[in-house]
Amino acid sequence: MSGFYTLLHKELLRFWKVGLQSICAPMIATLIYLFIFSHILEERAQAYPGVTYTAFLIPGLLMMAMLQNSFANSSSSLIQSKISGSIVFILLSPLSYMEIFVAYVLASIVRGFLVGAGIYLVILIFFDMPLQSLSWVFIFALIGNGFLGVLGIIAAIWAEKFDQLASFQNFVILPLTFLSGVFYTIHSLPPFWEGLSRFNPFFYVIDGFRYGFFGISDVSPYFSFMIVGICFLAVSWVTLRMLKTGYKLRQ
């Protein structure tokens, strides 16, 4: 077990040592988004009755920042060590593939939580945010960060170069997050796009997370939890298979 703790500790240290860019930078970017969008759209849009647009936007932006950072954490750590070659030190060690998997995913979750908590604390200074159910907020933050942490591992194992990883991020992760209802409720969409959004797992992460704040959501949080849970288990299974068979890492 202590081998696992070492790897987890190393993964935490890795982003902690560059905290300015791994935690502060995404916090600032998200807060800028929030101030601009809320300034422009506050008077013009309303998603849920009785909820200001800014308040509606906050959980979406929070979750978006967390998802991007949990993905960035596992994927950049792995691709860097893959390309620099220093991944051999992990591959040579007696760590099991399960330990490697859990350590990377946990580190991603921690980074996501730190970014999310940082943003949330700043927001509390400026805005009045309801909090209906801390448990749902926590559960969706946990599973959302975990899901993206796992996706980050898959992307980094698959990618052979930095630009391949970047295209995974730009063509898969970014559209899925932006089109998941961060900025709008999917009920406001034309039927076709609303239907399509229901195939986007990120939609359920954000919708459930938002439920925790307002007690209102597009679909039931239990249903969202089930969908995201299934997605998480599915990508975890794929990743564990990849690690076990040595796909691209031990060829």
């Binding site: 081998g3 070492t6 190393k10 060590s81 070659g85 030190f89 040579l92």
Partner: protein, 305 residues
């Protein structure tokens, strides 16, 4: 006794490229063993298979009886590998790197041993330097140190002295020899054949993914090349009996080739019968480089080894 390393019919191909062709190899505990061969012969691939960095396409490899694929955790715990590439984690200092590496093996309080490794590898004054700031030779030392943090009974070094100055080479081999005396099995690859000749008890030579020679260093040198005798004689001509042994004639000296020491006696006897006096005689030992060049250059000779 369980062999330190056991390789049975290991094949590895990368698509159409064949890297290893049915390697069979057994290395006993406590050996100092060299894997030699030109670039691309498959040395590193074989080491990667032993280290679990590459899964073989076919065949079985075991470290102290542990299958490197099936019992990978046990196998990796008892082997330490110095990779050929100069790789490092730029986030950490030398000491951090070594304590993290110890941690991977479940070793928490490893400072005493880390101190000892740092001392023997001349890294004491660099222990708090970030890995990025080290020179190539220093990074190489850290790689060696990382392979040793868990005191592995089997140590595999893939070209540990490539691009390393003479001083480090000496101190490194001194340290490795000490570990070997303490019972560690050492397997190395190198392009410096004098190193292999001096250090290693047994040698395997690889060519195009196959073992083309496998024997003790002594036998390899003896059997493949024989000896050369340089003779200056009182006569200008060589007795006809000795003509078949003649390798070359230069500056008034005959160079004869004999397979073993007993043959020297018959050469001298032949000269005595012809009443030729020996004015000067030098016995030239072939070295590993001669053996290497011969084996790599001439496939036919391989059968005799």
């Amino acid at each position: 006794m369980i062999p330190a390393i056991e390789v049975k019919q290991v094949y590895k191909n990368y698509g159409p490229v064949v890297a290893l062709v049915g390697i069979d190899l057994e290395i006993e505990q406590g050996e100092f063993f060299a894997l030699l061969g030109p670039n691309g012969a498959g040395k590193t691939t074989l080491i990667n298979v032993l280290a679990g960095l590459t899964l073989p396409s076919n065949g079985v490899a075991k470290i102290m009886g542990h299958d490197v694929a099936k019992n990978y955790r046990e196998a990796r715990r008892i082997v330490g590998v110095v990779p050929q590439e100069l790789v490092f984690d730029p986030f950490f200092s030398v000491r951090e790197t070594l304590s993290i590496q110890s941690g991977y093996y479940g070793l928490r309080n490893n400072d005493a041993w880390i101190d000892e490794i740092l001392h023997h590898l001349g890294l004491r004054d660099k222990e708090n330097a970030n890995m990025r700031t080290l020179s190539g030779g220093m990074k190489r030392r850290v790689l060696v140190a990382q392979a040793l943090v868990h005191k592995p009974p089997v140590i595999i070094l893939d070209e540990p002295t490539a691009g390393v100055d003479v001083e480090l080479r000496r101190s490194l081999w001194g340290f490795i020899k000490r570990l070997n005396r303490d019972g560690h099995t050492i397997v190395l690859t190198t392009h410096y054949l004098d190193e292999a000749e001096e250090l290693c008890g047994r040698i395997a030579m690889l060519k195009k993914g196959e073992i083309v020679a496998l024997d003790s260093t002594k036998n390899l040198i003896n059997n493949v090349s024989g000896y050369l005798i340089r003779l200056r004689l009182s006569s200008e001509t060589l007795p006809s009996d000795l003509q078949p042994l003649l390798e070359s004639y230069a500056e008034g000296c005959f160079i004869l080739k004999v397979n073993n020491y007993s043959k020297i006696e018959s050469v001298l006897a032949a000269l005595r019968i012809e009443q030729i006096r020996v004015l000067e005689m030098e016995l030239m030992q072939p070295d590993l480089e001669d053996v290497f060049v011969k084996i790599m250059g001439n496939t036919k000779n391989m059968g005799s080894v």
